[in-house]
């Protein structure tokens, strides 16, 4: 193959105190290709991209970066931006209160003398929005856009800077299937316009669909670089390189007899107090003892809102109708504390934002929701706390030096296990899992799935909210599909396919159009 390299990173080594994050990594990107970078969490993908973009300045690493044949010494992000590199992070960096056109040109405003030329800004903004296929008014404020649209605005922002090399870090992590597909289509479209992309993703299906080259990192070294243009690379092959072993079945099998109905929601309707909009309409669902019920749907279908409104209604919605029954008895929760006491646990979708207290240690987090179990005569029994935390650490295989380690320093998968341990300490009979495997690597996912199986075997009922369709199909006994705040379908897992679930998830959307 003809080698026209836009980027060459030669023998990059980057060390942090005590850890070699990158060890002589050599990474080559062809001009005009979509190059996917995969690896488990902590493999060094983000570190490599931070070296490239100048977040870790020249001198803090060994090796050299060659861009368009020239050796580069980036000392700041702005240096790499000037050379046509744009990086789009997982956490979007947009200003929610500002309109789209301002967001696109923030930091490189179009000037007319010493004032900003707003007219020109709007015209140019409309042009790049068209290029990314976003049909919105440039005057719209970011806060009124969905996650998928925001992602496109980010890309528009990058394009407005005349980018040659676009780096996307987990762009589809927060997107639903449809938006993800749009985004991938856009990457292909940009490829025809000569833009080279580096895509970091955990979603192997997307990688297989879009990649020209796949580079696999493991423990800070390049395992392999696969050319996907010559032959088709399968997911299994990538996984094998990522974990260094073969995981034959991503979803462990379980053998649990499902019991009676444990929890039921009837005609549940919820209105947002501020906007007066009805977020949930007439939701009916039930979970049986020992059953995993999947809750599928697109982003914004109202699944998290449903969980929050059931679990003590922290956002303060107006519950305009409906009832909840736990083991046949009608229940009402004014605060999560009531729900916890009744035996419900909710593992949040964003463990960093509202799941864990990251500055505190593992045992602090584990004991948090059911601290009263450790209190004798007003005093917390700290020895018992340590013992219990150690038990969870062992049975959940939470990899931490000690239960006195600060949770913020653990990897995503281990944080998620801590989050689960915390809720199991509260001894729930119903566990609501909201995106339980978001942002964690394949190995840790498998462990979480095995845990779920162990829990249902103990008779716990589980509602699993997930945007990963395959996960819902692979793990659930039964699946509810939500769209626009209402249940649009219920289907037994053995009858479910990606197609029929997706069809129901987009049902009212299509009807509305």
């Amino acid at each position: 193959m003809n080698k026209d390299l836009i980027l060459e990173m030669r023998s990059i080594t980057k060390e942090f105190p005590g850890v070699k994050a990158l060890d002589r990594v050599t990474f080559e990107v062809q001009r005009g290709e979509i190059h996917c970078l995969v690896g488990e969490n902590g493999a060094g993908k983000s570190t490599l991209m931070k070296v490239l973009s100048g977040v870790y300045p020249f001198g803090s690493y060994d090796g050299e970066i060659v861009l368009n044949g020239e050796v580069q010494e980036f000392r700041h992000i702005s240096d790499s931006e000037k050379k046509g590199i744009a990086i789009i992070y997982q956490e979007l960096a947009l200003f929610p209160e500002l309109p789209v056109y301002e967001n696109i040109f923030v930091g490189h405003e179009i000037m007319n003398g010493s004032v900003i030329d707003w007219n020109e800004t709007k015209v140019r903004a409309a042009e790049v929005l068209k290029r990314v296929g976003l049909k919105i008014d440039p005057n719209t404020k970011i806060k009124n856009l969905g996650v998928g649209q925001r992602q496109l605005v980010e890309i528009a922002k990058a394009l407005s800077k005349d980018v040659d090399l676009l780096i996307l870090d987990e762009p589809t992590a927060a997107l639903n299937e449809e938006d993800s597909q749009n985004l991938l289509a856009l990457l292909r479209e940009l490829k025809t316009q000569g833009v080279t992309s580096i895509l970091i993703s955990h979603k192997l299906k997307e990688i297989v669909a879009v990649a020209d080259t796949i580079t696999v990192l493991r423990d800070g070294t390049v395992v392999t670089s696969l050319d996907a243009t010559e032959r088709k690379i399968g997911e299994q092959e990538i996984i094998k390189h990522m974990v260094g072993r073969e995981i034959e079945n991503i979803y462990p099998t379980r053998d649990v007899t499902v019991g009676d109905v444990a929890f039921e929601v009837k005609n549940w309707s919820v209105t947002d107090r501020v906007s007066g909009r009805e977020i949930l309409h007439n939701v009916n669902l039930n979970v049986r003892r020992g059953e995993v019920v999947g809750l599928a749907g697109l982003m914004g279908a109202g699944r998290t809102e449903l969980a929050l409104s059931l679990f003590g209604n922290v956002p303060g919605y107006d519950i305009s109708g409906g009832e909840m029954y736990l083991h046949g008895k009608r229940v009402e929760f004014k605060h999560p504390a009531d729900a916890i006491e009744a035996g419900i646990a909710y593992v949040t979708e964003d463990r960093k934002a509202n799941g864990l207290v990251l500055i505190q240690d593992v045992k602090f987090n584990i004991s948090m929701p059911a601290l009263e179990k450790l209190v004798h005569n007003m005093v917390i029994n700290e020895n018992e706390e340590i013992t219990i935390a150690n038990e969870y650490r062992e049975s959940f295989d939470i990899r931490t030096p000690s239960v006195e380690t600060v949770t913020g320093t653990l990897s995503g998968g281990n944080q998620q296990k801590t989050s689960l341990a915390k809720w199991l300490f509260a001894e729930p009979s119903l566990l609501i899992l909201d995106e339980p495997t978001r942002g964690i690597d394949v190995g840790a996912k498998f462990e979480i799935y095995s845990l779920i199986n162990r829990l249902v075997a103990q008779g716990i009922s589980i509602i699993m909210i997930s945007s990963e369709l395959l996960e819902v199909l692979g793990m659930s006994d039964r699946i509810y599909i939500m769209s626009e705040g209402t249940i649009t379908g219920e289907i037994d897992a053995k009858d479910a396919t990606e197609e029929n679930v997706m069809a129901m998830a987009t049902k009212t959307v299509e009807e509305a159009v």
Partner: protein
């Protein structure tokens, strides 16, 4: 767990130097505070030619620190849950004046003290209500409180000006000492060891308390060490442990001796110690304390974990009000009067003490025991500069500089710890 054991034994082999170094690196924040306090003591002792370290002045320092320490303890909780209370200075000033007025009108002192404390709680309840139910930010709520209580203070003292307090019991709060064991009881024993004396050579009770403290401290430290070992947590080597215990024991005995050779233990020290013990227990051993740290660390996660954030916040503000009332009475007692400007800037001393004592500016972290050291830092500066006759305006500059240095140091060490 095996690896930890290996590490532990390796530590012992590597020797003291490495262990001391790693202790210093890991606890740099705390040690820096003690070093700062020691340096301040040293400088003032040299510059005042020993006057600063005299028994008389040190007791004076304790009495001066009392009201700030009490306020700072309450403030520490507020700051941990990421709120602030700007009103406490004038709340203290106003409630101190209320106490003085009640006493002037012939109320019994044992009725005045609980009444004023309850008034303090009510002030806290009012501000806590605004913050938690009406959702007015604490900064605004308490800024308004600062205006109002300043006004109330000048209003109640308008007719009389300074209100003199004559009640002897009330004055004891900040000027009195715990009475000693009567001299005639231990005179015969003392004479076995020394030549005959007419007056007690030192305050016996103080020394006894000192010895008890040393025993209790060593006992609890040994117990703590044992429980750490039981769970295979990292412990310091035996040498370091012994050195630490000896050093602390010597320190306690020196302080006891200083107090014993003057007039014994001031009541203020007793009050502050009791408050400190209660708050320390509450923060570290009870659910309420855990909830405070959880809210400060991540309020949303705390709420979703079943912690009633509003209720805890409300209680923390009420406790702040209670502490303000206590501080107000201590201050009034100390001056033997209530003045129209009492309380000016107290909130700043309290906030500075908490931050110097290691409360994180990001919330979720802080200890009341360290806050007391912070209060000692601030008040030794005040005390020492007063001894030297430094102009008050310059004193503010110095205190502000030390404050910002402490916080800047704190922020940098925490940021480093993150990487």
């Amino acid at each position: 767990m095996k690896t930890e054991k290996v590490m532990g034994s390796r530590h012992e082999k590597e020797g003291l130097a490495t262990e001391v170094a790693s202790l210093l690196i890991n606890n740099i924040r705390d040690y820096a505070m003690y070093v700062a306090l020691a340096v301040i003591f040293l400088i003032f002792t040299i510059v005042t030619k020993g006057l600063f370290l005299s028994s008389r002045n040190l007791i004076n320092l304790v009495n001066q620190t009392g009201y700030v320490a009490v306020l700072a303890i309450g403030m520490t909780l507020i700051l941990i849950i990421k709120h602030i209370d700007l009103s406490i200075g004038f709340v203290a000033g106003f409630l101190g004046a209320v106490a003085a007025i009640m006493l002037m009108n012939g109320w019994n002192v044992w009725l005045v003290i609980p009444t004023v404390l309850i008034c303090g709680i009510l002030v806290g309840v009012y501000q806590g209500f605004l913050v938690t139910k009406i959702k007015v930010p604490a900064f605004v709520t308490t800024l308004a409180g600062m205006f109002m209580f300043r006004g109330l203070l000048s209003w109640v003292t308008a007719g009389t000006g300074t209100i003199i307090v004559r009640d002897r019991t009330f004055l004891q709060l900040s000027n009195g000492y715990v009475p000693d064991i009567p001299w005639h009881l231990w005179k015969p024993v003392a004479e076995l060891f020394a030549t005959q004396t007419e007056r007690a050579p030192f305050h016996l009770l103080t020394m006894i308390v000192g010895v008890i403290l040393v025993v209790v401290m060593i006992y609890s430290q040994i117990k703590h060490r044992q429980s750490l070992k039981r769970y295979d947590f990292k412990t310091t080597s035996l040498t370091i442990f012994v050195i630490k215990q000896v050093a602390l024991s010597v320190l306690i005995m020196v302080i006891s001796w200083i107090m014993a050779s003057y007039r014994g233990i001031p009541w203020t020290a007793v009050i502050v110690t009791v408050v400190l013990l209660i708050y320390n227990f509450m923060l570290n051993k009870t659910r309420f304390g855990r909830h405070i740290y959880a809210i400060g660390g991540n309020a949303e996660a705390a709420e979703l974990s079943g912690i009633k954030v509003n209720r805890v916040t409300f209680l923390v503000f009420s406790s702040m009000g209670l502490m303000a009332a206590l501080a107000g009475m201590l201050y009034t007692s100390r001056l033997a009067s209530a003045t129209p400007t009492a309380g000016l800037g107290f909130e700043l001393d309290a906030i500075a003490s908490s931050y110097i004592g290691g409360v994180s500016v990001g919330g979720g972290v802080g200890r009341v025991t360290n806050t007391i050291i912070g209060a000692l830092v601030i008040m030794s500066l005040t005390n020492g500069m007063n001894l030297l006759g430094v102009d008050i305006s310059f004193q503010y500059v110095v205190k502000g500089a030390i404050f910002i240095l402490a916080v800047a140091f704190d922020v940098t060490t925490r940021n480093k710890a993150k990487v």
